[in-house]
């Protein structure tokens, strides 16, 4: 398709499979793509699409049981499959790689400076004496401030974003022509993500480095890539310029993927492909752009001055503050550096909720949003502040006592990690039944069964699968079991802690629509905690923005998105890679 003469990387009909118990698993099935020098190609796909495996196979980093079955890989004029060590030579010399989960990708017992030097020496770009100086230069090039100090730091002392930048520095050591980045910002805060991606983009612009960006985040690819390839089930279903693929695609899978990616101006139901919208549209959900239920709902939740602090020794407090400095942006000054023995996870949180309201709490890591949600759910005792629920002062009751009281069933939680929040020893049926038995111990067996099946249906979980165990269910199914478990006791308030962050976008679309439908049918009140602004915008009416334990801004969702008043909020919104309503060619 493309001019093969000028291609830097040319992959032709690549197929990769793995040896597993019971046969071979084909992960990549005939993938062809090409990258020109200096170009950025994004490969997007959901989990299981084979995008990462494809990338690893290009440089010979497959696991031992993996094998390239067929295909050609040409890099910079050389055939990488011609000799066994061709790929090894390409590594660190022409092709560089950065990975997901940056801290784990660094040697924990070696200073980061030494690791960059190792990379330099490996590529023989500098001698032993020279490598220290050159390593320092690289650290500065990736915008690590106080590079001299950080040179001697160990990975566990640095933030995730900083570790990723070290990895980029290591990748640059060999002056590569192509950088392959496999989900480089997954798991990092949105603001950190922006810094990393901007750094990569600038490097590309200044050094002519070509980039192959592997990601599940369509918005990210849209923002930083000129061309996009879409993968599904080991095949490339579409390749083209960003605008072509995202706006004018004819391929159903791509359309579905793009549709499921939340973007401004779209409604919840638009996330689903037209064929699946039926059940939701029929009941009037997914289209709401105003408050879901009537006003006149009474006050359900009243939280005042909620705080959570941990009494720590001076030493630990100092470490915590130091960590906060590092986790913050660059080496900014510490706000109020009075040595204290209290570390606050949440400070002075207040909110009110009417029945039927949908509140979002958004923040990055360390913002205190999870701690807040746990306190409101009474799974954690607060240090200060009051919590009033439907007139009752539940804040005065210690957590352990609350869990045994009749009020427990009225506030339920859907947890973040679908697999981790299910007891591996309980079948889906038992998992959903458990809270019901605790709340209504005298209920009959038949009644139990019907309640569980009802809850499962409401959550969109097929009752035929109730006998399965968590490891036999897919991520989306696990998430729905978690929702059913929360719903079976008919709670008044539902707290959802990142309910879809571990799910693929298409599954997320389904689950979010399901939640929306439930909320209308059952008149649920919910608090949605998330780092994903787009999800909050779709699902909530009002939002609290949290940072370092405090609420920096609160109000109506649309107002805050359109005209945020706090600088941090602005920063947050800016950092999210939006899919704008219309993509203009050459937007970068």
């Amino acid at each position: 398709m493309t001019g093969s003469m000028s291609s830097l990387l040319e992959v032709d009909d690549l197929a990769v499979s793995f040896d597993i118990r019971g046969g071979r698993l084909t992960a990549v099935d005939g993938v062809s793509l090409s990258i020109r020098p200096g170009e950025t190609l994004g490969v997007v796909g959901e989990s299981g699409s084979g995008k990462s495996v494809m990338a690893y196979s290009l440089v010979g980093l497959l696991a031992d049981n993996g094998r390239i079955d067929r295909g050609q890989i040409h890099f910079d004029g050389r055939d990488l499959r011609s000799a066994p060590d061709e790929m090894a030579r390409a590594r660190g010399a022409g092709i560089a790689f950065i990975f997901q989960n940056p801290r784990a990708a660094l040697n924990p017992i070696r200073t980061v400076g030494d690791q960059v030097r190792d990379a330099l020496e490996a590529s023989r770009r500098s001698s032993r004496r020279d490598s220290s100086r050159r390593a320092l230069e690289l650290l500065e090039q990736v915008r690590i401030d106080r590079a001299k100090d950080r040179f001697h730091a160990f990975p566990h002392e640095l933030s995730g974003g900083m570790c990723q930048r070290i990895l980029i520095a290591m990748a640059l050591a060999a002056e590569p022509k192509l950088l392959i980045a496999d989900e480089p910002t997954t798991g990092l805060d949105v603001t950190t993500q922006k810094i990393i991606m901007d750094t990569l983009y600038e490097l590309g612009a200044s050094t002519g480095l070509a980039t192959l960006l592997i990601t599940h985040d369509v918005g990210l690819a849209a923002r930083y890539c000129r061309r996009i390839a879409v993968m599904c089930d080991g095949k490339v279903v579409e390749t083209g310029s960003t605008a072509e693929v995202l706006e004018r695609s004819r391929v159903p899978y791509t359309q579905r993927l793009v549709a499921a990616t939340p973007r401004s101006g779209r409604k919840l139901i638009d996330l689903l492909p037209p064929c699946e919208r039926g059940p939701f549209a029929a009941r009037g959900s997914g289209c709401g752009d105003g408050p879901a239920v009537t006003e006149g709902g009474g006050l359900l939740l009243n939280v005042q001055g909620l705080s959570k602090s941990f009494h720590t020794s001076r030493a630990v407090g100092a470490v915590a503050r130091a960590l906060r400095r590092r986790f913050g942006r660059g080496g900014g000054a510490d706000a109020g550096g009075r040595p204290s023995t209290e570390t606050y996870a949440v400070r002075d949180l207040s909110l009110t909720l009417k029945r039927g309201a949908r509140l979002g709490i958004v923040g990055e890591s360390g913002s205190g949003k999870t701690t807040s949600s746990r306190m409101i759910a009474r799974l954690l005792d607060q240090t200060e502040g009051s919590i009033e629920f439907d007139g009752a002062d539940i804040g005065a009751v210690p957590s352990a006592a609350f869990n045994r009281s009749a009020m427990r069933r009225r506030i339920q939680v859907v947890f973040q990690n679908p697999l981790g929040s299910l007891n591996p020893r309980f079948s889906a049926y038992q998992a959903i039944l458990n809270p019901l038995r605790r709340a209504e111990p005298s209920i009959s067996r038949d009644m139990q069964r019907s309640r569980v099946v009802d809850a499962a249906r409401q959550a969109g979980f097929d009752p035929m699968l109730l006998s399965r165990f968590p490891h036999q269910l897919s991520g989306g199914q696990q998430a729905r079991v978690g929702i059913a478990r929360a719903l079976v006791v008919k709670p008044d308030l539902l707290i959802l802690d990142e309910p879809t962050s571990a799910l693929d976008v298409s599954i997320q679309a389904l689950v979010l629509n399901q939640l929306d439908l439930l909320q209308r049918e059952l008149n649920l009140t919910y608090i949605l905690v998330s780092h994903d602004l787009n999800v909050i915008r779709l699902m909530c009416d009002s939002v609290l923005v949290m940072r370092f334990g405090r609420v920096v801004e609160s109000g109506d969702v649309e107002t805050i998105f359109q005209s945020p008043s706090h600088p941090y909020t602005r920063e947050l919104i800016n950092a999210v890679p939006h899919l704008p309503a219309q993509i203009v060619e050459n937007v970068l």
Binding site: L379, V413, F415, L422, N423, F469
Partner: protein
């Protein structure tokens, strides 16, 4: 409907377990050998060819033959019968000791980690102190203090295993405590006790079971070693350690069967327990890696 539905899950898991074991022929052998061993020990009094205590001074120190498979010892007793009968004693001691240490250790360690705070710290410290001593030496001293009896050996062997169970239970529970599903259980209205017994212990059982298996091996080793050095079980009781001790005196005169056969029986039994433990560990690893 739910009853038959849950059965599906169990058969499925059993199937995977069998697969995992079958892949390692050695552990498969151990899994098969264990019941055979237990049966032999149980049926010993009825299958032995000779009375293990009957001396026969006309037929001392005879080598292995068709009549006496393992030969005879210095007072003419049939070594084979003695080895078989001794298995009952050693296995009984081992099971009793491990049962005690498993129950005691799991309870103490699990509760300590679950409730945390000072209790956890105290238990941790006490276990650390206990483990500073070579446990065999502690066992020696205990048997010396309590006298030469089976009960003292059982207690001493239980003490040797106890700190391992405490540590294991403590580490398992402290890991499980912060699992999200435990938090979910709290949100579901489960009390502490319900969480401990319904959610934590069932999930800690696989690892604990591995320790039970290796613990059985250690208990047998411990009991035999104590008898060998002259503490605990004394001659003329048929016990493997005692037999090796008696045989050791004769081995340098060439009468090797007195010591080697009971020694082999000891090794084989402990090996079986250890391989069983390894096999169980493999099954667990497979499941957790899924």
């Amino acid at each position: 409907m739910s009853a038959e539905l849950t059965h599906l899950g169990f058969a499925d898991r059993a199937g995977h377990a069998v697969q995992a074991v079958a892949r390692n022929p050695v552990s498969a052998a151990a899994f098969a050998f264990m019941p055979a061993l237990l049966m032999l020990a149980a049926l010993a009094p009825w299958i032995i060819p000779y009375d293990p205590d009957a001396t026969d001074l006309d037929h001392v120190l005879l080598g292995p033959s068709a009549l006496h498979w393992f030969g005879t010892d210095q007072v003419g007793r049939d070594v084979f019968s003695r080895v078989l009968i001794a298995s009952r004693l050693d296995l009984a001691i081992a099971f009793a000791a491990v049962l005690l240490s498993f129950l005691g250790g799991t309870f103490v360690g699990g509760a300590a980690a679950f409730f945390g705070g000072t209790v956890d710290r105290v238990v941790g410290r006490a276990t650390d102190v206990l483990m500073t001593f070579p446990l065999f030496v502690v066992a020696m001293a205990m048997v010396a203090a309590l006298g030469n009896s089976i009960q003292s050996i059982v207690l001493a062997s239980a003490v040797v295993n106890l700190p391992f169970f405490v540590r294991l239970a403590r580490s398992e529970v402290s890991i499980l405590r912060v699992q999200e599903y435990v938090e979910a259980a709290r949100a579901g209205g489960n009390s502490n006790l319900q969480i401990l017994f319904g959610f934590m212990i069932p999930n800690a059982l696989p690892t604990l079971t591995v320790q039970v298996s290796t613990g059985l091996g250690w208990a047998v080793l411990n009991a035999a070693s104590l008898s060998f050095i002259g503490l605990g079980i004394r001659p003329p009781t048929a016990e493997w350690g005692v037999m090796v001790a008696e045989g050791a005196a004769n081995i340098l005169s060439g009468y090797w069967w007195l010591a080697i056969f009971p020694g082999a029986a000891l090794t084989l039994t402990v090996l079986c327990f250890n391989l069983l433990g390894d096999g169980l560990r493999d099954i667990i690893d497979v499941r957790t890696r899924r």
